[in-house]
Amino acid sequence: MIPFPLHLESLLTKPLTYLVFLLIGFLFGYVLELSGFNHSPSLASQFYFKDLRVFKVFFTAIVVGMLLLFLSSAVGLLDYNLIWVNPTYLWSGIVGGLIMGFGFILGGFCPGTSLVALATLKIDGIFFVLGGLVGVFLFGETVDFYKFFFNGSYYGRLTLMDVFNLPAGIVVILVTLMAVFMLWGGEKLEKIYGNKDPKKAPKARYYGAGVLVIVAVAIAIIGQPTTADRWNDLESIRGDDLKNREVYVHPGELLDTFHDHKLNLVLIDVRSEADFNLFHLLDAENLLPEEIQNSIDEFIALPANTVIVVMSNDEITSTEVWKTLTAQAVPNVYILSGGINNWLETFSTSVEDVVCGELTQAGEEELRFEFNAALGSNCPAAYPDHDLYHFEYEKKIELDLKRAPVGGGCG
């Protein structure tokens, strides 16, 4: 199993967890100060190309952070699916970003740098932080006037890999090359507008740039773990759950779960569209097995109380899909025991019996009932009456709260 990120909440007591965050904050603040981010003229002069110190620190940090993240993911140390990736809200991001840019050039800080300026007693930093508190207040008072805009143009956990349809390694190389080019261009601009002599800067930076590019290429060559890699890695731990049928949910338990309103139940029906149209459970979502891979990011971003139940006609396809989802670190995935065939056997009523008959012979993963009308979910068996059925079963669904953080640094 991929060991990082750690799930601090389950490993440590709350005070110790907070101590870890305090230490991370300490290092963050220390490095910001060390790099000169508490000095507003340095922050502002990058926008006049005179002193690109802040620009250099910033893009170097992004590239170094990115390379370490994707390198540790490539070698199987870090699970990229379990780290927080900011969701994309296109238009509120653009407008918010432009407003931030105006605030940046007028105020000479951004929130993180203003905190460090305040901590080092810069009076302009203190005023910026005070203004910042007012800004939060104003936002809370006004966002309701345009909440559709604020919550609109939502694309979920969307990465540059998704946008350009390129593997992570290639995106990593392109971002690294772009950053190195921007830093090189930045030094040229500094020479023109700020009379800075790039020859005075240490030569080591060229070697550093070389190392960054080499690491990026190495990441692309190693590649990110595939679903098969991830399942091989996980099989020793979760394989037994399959063998012991720990993840196969009895139809009776699923029916009870329909009525457990503390859970966010997601039903994934992985059969063909034709079978799905003949009959499916109420609110089930039809996804073909080959479409699952592209929906992983959506599953990861679901709320923490989500339980996913996968179903096919029998259990073979649903078990494969379970492996994919579980290998990709989607938590709380279960399989409908016996599939839709077993469900219909258990719950079909006189209404269904009118339009369908049970076949004596059916192949593996084929619907064992013949319908002469497409019922979809417009029949009692799609949402059986809870009061009519009582089953004895072994309870399988348990909420495992290990999942990607559902709030970033901005919550």
Partner: protein, 189 residues
């Protein structure tokens, strides 16, 4: 410990802490490498990136909760942070913010850069600088709330994890600042 050492200890005054000779800032590329490593460590250990505006907004919510507790419960945006019995300060991001303050202060003291002063362009008064810092602060955090994160939470953290939206926010921040820079050049030049 010798007598001599004790003598020296006695001479220590708190104000000396703030009057140390200022050292120059670190090489920007070195600072960038260190910042990237801290960012990575944060993701590697906790799964979360770095952030600053989230801590600020919770502190603002805390202050509002003190002044007008009833009002919080009518503002949906604040409700999730400070509604009812929720303590807006009970969040990891507030702890990170506290760490930033301590870390920044510590480095400032060690390198002789923690001192009361106003940094500004050569052609404006301190008062003008303070006014624009205040206005800039309002705009920046307003925009940061709208974009769901600032230079730290979106541009830096989301940039390194290759979030598409974060790269859009990053270019918007720099775009906005470069677009306005010419018109306010008197502030800084």
């Amino acid at each position: 410990m010798t007598e001599n050492n004790k003598e020296e200890k006695k001479k220590f005054h708190l104000k000396d802490l703030f009057n140390r000779p200022s050292k120059p800032y670190a090489n920007p590329y070195l600072g960038g490498v260190l910042l990237g490593m801290v960012l990575f460590a944060s993701y590697f250990i906790t799964g979360n990136g770095l952030g600053a505006s989230g801590g600020l907004s919770r502190i603002a919510a805390f202050i509002e909760d003190l002044i007008a507790p009833g009002h919080i419960d009518q503002v949906p945006y604040l409700l999730t942070m400070a509604g009812g019995q929720l303590n807006p300060l009970d969040s990891w991001i507030v702890i990170v913010t506290a760490g930033v303050l301590i870390g920044g202060f510590t480095s400032g003291v060690i390198h002789g850069r923690t001192k009361f002063e106003t940094n500004k362009g050569p052609n404006i008064s301190n008062q003008t600088r303070w006014l624009f810092a205040f206005l800039g602060g309002i705009l920046f955090t307003y925009g940061a709330r709208l974009a769901r994160g600032c230079t730290s939470g979106q541009a830096l953290s989301g940039g390194a994890t290759l979030s598409a939206g974060s790269w859009v926010v990053m270019f918007s921040i720099f775009g906005g600042a470069y677009a306005l820079a010419y018109f306010v050049r008197r502030l800084w030049n």
